[in-house]
Amino acid sequence: MPANLTLNAVAFISPQNHPIFIRTFSKQNEHAIKYHYVAHTSLDVIEERVNASGKQAGECYLGLLYSMEDVVVYGYVTPLKVKIVLAFALSDAIVRDIEVTMIFKALHMAYYSATSNPFLKLEASNGANNEKSPYPSVASPKWKAFRNRVDEISRVVGSAANSQTSYS
């Protein structure tokens, strides 16, 4: 289990670089927008990485994108180009890639199962533009399951970190 990681924020960004879902777990209110910045800024780095790595797809995990002030930012690109960005609190401990990858995979699965919901397009169908993207509706207030799942992942990560500290 991942240890010593404090998840501050999770962001899902669509292939067109629109934010799908940005969720912050830090306590301070005023930092909510900061993670919008973080997510937006990491798009630059992700693009650099993806371009640099060339065409050999398959590796979704992009590793550490950058660190800034008190957070470290990790990136992940799904095969369908949905970007997942994680912001951890900066700490002195060693961050193992395998742990971060595990969190990313869990988030990816959460997203995957949320988009697989056949009723997602239902809501969008009443508008004039009935061929809407499913992405925003994943995070829309109506679909709580995805949000709950992301929260749960965050909770698991957080509790693992806590238990680690309490036993050590």
Partner: protein, 1304 residues
């Protein structure tokens, strides 16, 4: 390798001028000597040599000159204090000048490739201008001291001596290894002649060595024209209140003339050309002949020591010392590949723990000197070794090394070293690291953590600029915001705004994406959709707006605040944010709104003329265009349109069938002078309460293609104020009234946003997506917008129809109520013809005329037998003049218990030829349930009658006692009569009454067989898949048998007949739709007849005399008589027909289902027509002494078939099979004699068969030992079709014969 080092990495030369020299220069209106000499830096073409004596040419060689006293004084100031002062000084300089810079840049426009950043230049110059020696590094420690005197001194030699012997007032940590140089300035007006001056120079040379120079200058009394020279580097002014320990009065600040107040004044020197030449020569000679050789010698010497230290033994020794407990604190081990989490270590090379400060180490000086001299090979080596010992070096190495991945690490180490001191001045290291460590992005962020000062903000801004050049625009935008946030705290507003704008520009810049163009369409988004990361844009614009407001650009602020009111997207929705930051997001809209209110109010009071010029537009919509409706007096256009459409269609069909040509004027019209309401659907997209005032509509008249104004004849209501809660949706009706008959287009709605800003929104909704051509399918194209239109008809034809009674009348199930319909002509023309459409709903005209005499007990009515709905009914009026009104009685019959809505359409016209107009009436009433009526029938055992019909009437009424007045049955083939008398009595609440009727065939009516033939033919064509001929079923006679104590109600009355038909029609249609779901309801009238000939409908008439209510309840669905599968042959034909193969299994399946449905329908019923009843004496007494009893039992066989005769065989079994001699079970009757009887029974006839029994002892005998076989045969297309049935006695009940001995 960088070719040019920053000028701050140049030799620092201090000058100690004698007072007479200062005087001399002042009198010639020249600046102090350091400033004069500084004007000649950098020197071109200087050559230095490395330790290996390789020449290094320098195209420019920078020098820094400063006043020794000043430096001495500055050194005594506390470093931290100076740092704070320096930051403030830089901030002040920038904040004073940035407004102009920003103005200039905005005026000149940005050069995108190489944008001007004067603030960055300024910051860099300020930082480079730091010339005070620092404790930790040796860059600012003087390399040389020039003792300068002039020959105007009373005794120049003595003055020189005095200068040389002056004790240096440096603190102990300042390195005193420097070159001492003597300069004698010999002006023309000197009391000494040139020769004397030469002698003086020689004497000085003799005494102080060769590092001396005699500088002859003209220095005319009238200053020559100024010559422009390079600007001086700005320097931190000295501490404002010099403390008393400063021995010497300070020179006026040399920077003062060029310092912030006069930023644009060119730096000039009022010197003659010759003097300039001489001074230049001096500077050059000083550098080339004295300074550089001296430095080279130092480097050589120190290098010797350095390399000897680096030999193996000493290194071993030092490393052992380090490993095995050294007295000095072990520095943290720092590797070049340190992870981000490595702890910062503070390099403190010259700060031993005992607190006594030492000058920078020789090794460091060596590194610095070799760097200055351009011997980078040596320099790098020394710096590396310094770095490994954790004594600095990381800050310089990035400058010297060629770009490589390690550079950012060096830079970050340098920064983290600095970080541990909270208020360090931004030293050269930071700046230089920034300048050259462009490759690393993360650095900048970490750099500025500890300082919320202007310099750090500018650093960030520069980082942003560099990122922009690298196309990392998102990162750049982020840094601009960060910079702006910091600058805002320093109060440097113009630059803050500039950075915010820059950031906004970058955020809005669409980065190039390698996506297919159809990707956007497939995702349903437009590529230039900017609402992504909307929170960020808001985060930029909100401070920008506030800054604009505070700086006085209120109009701009209003525009920005208005732009912020976008309505938060899903991302900001409270439920999306975690619970603790809900408040944050919900408040943002409110904050924007409040700011807008304040700014707008301010603008409107101070500069109202600017509001018009600002062209403010609200970025959000309040009207939901697709959901805006028009409502008329008679209900909405869009409400339950299907009902009215159906009625209209009914009318059109009817009128066409009557050969009428006149059309119906479109009913979607209001009349002139009549109110119309437009239901505006307003939705507040913001998370804050707001108000809209003066809501009104813009209405245009559509004449031809263009729209014209309608102010003259259309009155539009204006709604004063509507307050919308956060995200609330509300319908606001706005009425309008037109005085002219025309076609109006309601183009838009207007309102005042927050009662400030007049805004207009279009109400036309977008047309549907077109898919007609390939181009339309590829690129979304939409039909023209659908405008909101309303036609106003002239009021000439206007009929108002209403019921005099209240709406929401409460009726009882089956009640018949007389109502009054009021027709009033509100138009200008008379009305002569009115038709009522929609009478199927149980309404009919009331007429008193046939409130007839006496009704016979049975009536025959001829029914059309058609399922066609009721045709429109012409109202019996002659003429209604304009303004007149007329009351018309109508009867309402409420058959079903429920809430009903009566929808009637009245079609009317002026004369026999004009077009029709229509008006509508909607009326609701409620019907309470009264009865459950259930009827069952069973074959009668009595001779005289065929069936006994059992009618159970259960009251559902809670309180009323209902009197049953009459039972009427309607049937084409059956006559019913009372069995128990004609007084039915009353039904108390929740009680049940059972009524018995007898039923006998009635053969006088016509139409029954024709009806069956018709049905068979039509269903046959359905099964064959042929077109169903649209023909009406043959009419049929119905016998209505009344049973009543009083003179019965007649069913001959038109209203009554109408209600009976209408209800029967509903029942039959419903039945058909249940049984034959595949047959479209349109074709029912041409396939199915209304009455099944076998059916018996029962009407129960009731009265509640107390309440003067009366009515009747109908019961349908009872059929009597045996039938013989009339559709059988047709079905067989269909089944045996050649099967058409269909491609689809589903079609075949459906065909089968149609067939099954017809086979199983009530029309195709088939049953044993013969009913057997035993007529026996119940108890017989017999004297068994006279022998066994011989009895003949009468078996009555009744043929219930109305059409077919039967042949039947009754077999008596002498010994019943079930001979379980149980004492309780009756004995089987022993039949004897003839046991098999054959007979044929004509339709509706009875035959009695009398088998005999031989009973030898008393007892109870069961007569069940019989079997009846029936055979029905009838000809079907030249063949005889036969059907056989077998009947056995019912197992449960049976007939018994009880015989007892008469003797007992």
């Amino acid at each position: 390798m960088p070719s040019v080092l920053p000028s701050s990495l140049s030799p620092h030369i201090c000058i100690l001028p004698s007072p007479d020299l200062d005087q001399l220069l002042q009198s010639s209106s020249l600046p102090p000597l350091p400033n004069i000499l500084q004007s000649f830096s950098p020197l071109p073409d200087v050559t230095t040599r490395t330790t290996s004596l390789v020449s290094i040419p320098h195209t420019s060689f920078a020098l820094r000159f400063s006043d020794l006293a000043e430096i001495e004084h500055a050194c005594n100031e506390d470093e931290d204090e100076r740092a704070v002062r320096m930051l403030d000084w830089i901030s002040a300089r920038i904040s004073k000048r940035c407004a102009k810079w920003v103005r200039d840049i905005e005026r000149l426009g940005g050069d995108l490739d190489n944008p001007r950043t004067p603030w960055w230049d300024e910051l860099r110059r300020c930082a480079e201008g730091d010339h005070v020696p620092a404790k930790t590094e040796g860059w600012n420690h003087p390399v040389a001291v020039i003792f300068a005197v002039s020959t105007t001194a009373p005794n120049p030699l003595q003055a020189i001596n005095a200068l040389h012997s002056r004790a240096l007032q440096f603190p102990p940590w300042v390195d005193t290894t420097f070159l001492r140089y003597t300069l004698i300035v010999h002006p023309q007006n000197s009391p000494l002649s040139d020769e004397e001056a030469g002698a003086l120079f020689n004497a000085v040379k003799k005494q102080y060595g060769l590092h001396s120079y005699l500088l002859s200058l003209n220095l005319p009394t009238t200053p020559p024209p100024p010559v422009p020279v390079p600007a001086l580097i700005p320097r931190l002014p000295l501490p404002p209140s010099p403390d008393s320990s400063v021995a010497k009065p300070l020179n006026p600040d040399p920077n003062e003339p060029t310092s912030p107040t006069f930023p644009t004044v060119l730096n000039t020197l009022r010197m003659e050309e010759n003097d300039i030449k001489h001074t230049a020569r001096f500077t050059r000679e000083f550098v080339v002949m004295s300074l550089v050789p001296w430095m080279e010698k130092c480097v050589l010497d120190w290098n010797e020591t350095f390399s000897s230290n680096r030999r193996l033994p000493s290194r071993l020794f030092s490393s052992t010392r380090r490993l095995f407990g050294s007295p000095s604190p072990t520095p943290p081990i720092h590797s070049a590949s340190a992870s981000i989490s490595s702890l910062p270590g503070r390099a403190s090379p010259s700060m031993p723990s005992n607190g006594v400060a030492n000058p920078p180490s020789q090794q460091r000086r060596l590194a610095e000197f070799s760097t200055i001299l351009g011997d980078f090979k040596l320099a790098v080596m020394v710096w590396e070794s310094l770095r490994k010992e954790n004594k600095g070096g990381s800050d310089i190495l990035p400058l010297l090394l060629s770009p490589s991945p390690t550079l950012p690490l060096h830079a970050s180490t340098a920064l983290s070293n600095i970080k541990s001191q909270s208020t360090d001045p931004p030293p050269h290291a930071q700046l230089r690291a920034l300048l050259y460590a462009k490759a690393s992005g993360g650095l900048y962020g970490r750099l500025v953590m500890f300082a919320e000062e202007a310099p750090s903000a500018l650093l960030l801004a520069h980082a942003a600029l560099l990122s922009t050049k690298k196309q990392a625009i998102r990162r750049a935008a982020f840094w601009y915001i960060d910079a702006a946030n910091r600058l805002e705290k320093c109060g440097i507003k113009p630059l803050t705004m500039y950075f915010l704008r820059k950031a906004k520009e970058l955020y809005k810049m669409e980065s190039r994406k390698s996506l297919s163009p159809s990707f956007w369409e497939s995702e349903g988004k437009s590529p230039n959709n900017l609402d992504d990361f909307g929170g960020i844009i808001s985060g930029i614009e909100h401070p920008l707006g506030r800054l604009l407001y505070t700086t006085g650009d209120v109009a701009g602020a209003v525009r920005v605040f208005l732009g912020l009111l976008r309505g938060s997207s899903n991302l900001h929705h409270p439920s999306n944010a975690s619970s603790d930051n809900v408040s944050k997001w919900t408040e943002s809209d409110k904050a924007y709104l409040d700011d807008f209110r304040v700014a707008y109010a301010h603008l409107s009071t101070t500069e109202p003329d600017k509001i018009a010029a600002a062209d403010l537009k609200i970025p959000i919509r309040f009207c939901v265009e697709g959901q805006t409706r028009i409502k008329f007096l008679t209900g909405s256009v869009n409400d339950d349109a299907s009902t009215w459409d159906e009625l209209e269609e009914t009318w059109r069909t009817f009128w066409k069938s009557r050969g009428g040509k006149e059309g119906l004027v479109d009913r979607k019209k209001a009349c002139t002078g009549e109110l119309i309401w437009v239901d505006l659907m307003l939705r507040n997209p913001l998370d804050a309460e707001l108000n809209l005032t003066e809501i009104s509509l813009v209405v245009h008249e559509k004449s031809g293609a263009e729209l014209t104004s309608t102010n003259v004849f259309v009155e539009v209501e204006t709604i004063d104020e509507v307050i919308l809660g956060p995200r609330e949706s509300r319908t606001v009706p706005v009425s309008l009234k037109s005085q002219r008959a025309t076609s109006l287009v309601i183009t838009s709605a207007t309102y005042k946003f927050l009662s400030y800003l007049r805004s207009t929104e279009h109400l036309a909704s977008r047309g549907r997506r077109l898919h007609n051509t390939a181009a339309q399918r590829q690129k979304p194209a939409y039909a023209p917008d659908i405008p909101l239109r309303v036609d106003i008809a002239p009021a000439s034809h206007k009929l108002l129809v209403s019921f005099v009674e209240d709406s929401h009348l409460h009726l009882i199930q089956g009640e018949t109520k007389v109502l009054t319909l009021s027709l009033s002509n509100a138009g200008l023309a008379p009305v002569e013809e009115i038709w009522m459409v929609g009478a199927d709903d149980g309404i009919w005209l009331h007429s008193d005329d046939d409130e007839s005499e006496s009704t016979p007990a049975a009536e025959v009515i001829r029914s059309q037998n058609s399922l066609k709905p009721q045709e429109p009914l012409r109202l019996p009026i002659t003429r209604i003049e304009p303004g007149e009104s007329l009351n018309l009685p109508v009867i309402l019959h409420a058959e079903q218990a429920d809430t009903h809505e009566l929808n009637l359409m009245f079609v009317f016209r002026e004369s026999n030829t004009g077009p029709f107009h229509c008006t509508r009436l909607t009326w609701t009433y409620e019907v309470q349930p009264l009865f459950y009526v259930v009827a069952t029938a069973e074959p009668s055992r009595a001779q005289g009658r065929s069936y006994v019909v059992n009618v159970d009437v259960t009251s559902r009424s809670m309180s009323s006692t209902v009197k049953l007045s009459q039972i009427t049955t309607l049937s084409p083939l059956w006559r019913c009569g009372p069995l128990t008398g004609s007084d039915f009595g009353t039904v108390p609440p929740h009680q049940c009454v059972r009524l018995l009727l007898e039923a006998n065939p009635w053969h006088d009516g016509v139409g029954s067989q024709e009806t069956l033939d018709f049905l068979s033919e039509q269903l046959g064509s359905v099964l064959r898949g042929a077109d169903v001929k649209s023909s009406d079923p043959p009419s049929i006679d119905l016998l209505c048998s009344h049973t009543s104590k009083f003179p019965p109600n007649s069913v001959q009355k038109t209203a009554m007949r109408h209600f009976i038909h209408s209800n029967r029609r509903k029942f039959t249609s419903h039945n058909i739709s249940q049984v034959h779901p595949y047959i479209p309801s349109m074709t029912y009238p041409s396939i199915f007849p209304l009455y099944n000939p076998a059916s018996v409908d029962i009407l129960v008439f009731w009265e509640i005399p107390m309440q003067q209510r009366f009515g009747h309840v109908s019961l349908y669905g009872l059929t009597l008589g045996a039938r013989h599968g009339v559709l059988h042959s047709m079905i067989e034909e269909a089944e045996s027909a050649k099967v058409k193969r269909s491609m689809y299994t589903e079609t075949q399946k459906e065909n089968l289902e149609v067939l099954d449905a017809i086979k199983g329908s009530e029309w195709n019923m088939e049953m044993d027509p013969v009913a057997l009843s035993i007529q026996q004496p119940n108890i017989i007494s017999h004297d068994f002494s006279k022998g066994p009893c011989r009895l003949s039992i009468a078996f009555n066989l009744r043929n219930h078939s109305l059409t077919h005769g039967v042949r039947c065989t009754l077999r008596m079994s002498p010994e019943p099979t079930s001979s379980s001699p149980n004492s309780s079970s009756p004995l089987p009757a022993p039949y004897f004699g003839r046991l098999t009887f054959r007979d044929s029974i004509p339709p509706c006839q009875t035959v009695t068969i009398r088998p005999k029994v031989w009973i030898s002892q008393p007892g109870t005998y069961s007569l069940n030992g019989w079997i009846l076989e029936t055979e029905v045969s009838w000809p079907v297309s030249n063949q005889a079709r036969q059907q056989r049935y077998r009947q056995e006695p019912p197992s449960r009940e049976g007939s018994y014969l009880i015989i007892h001995d008469s003797r007992t």
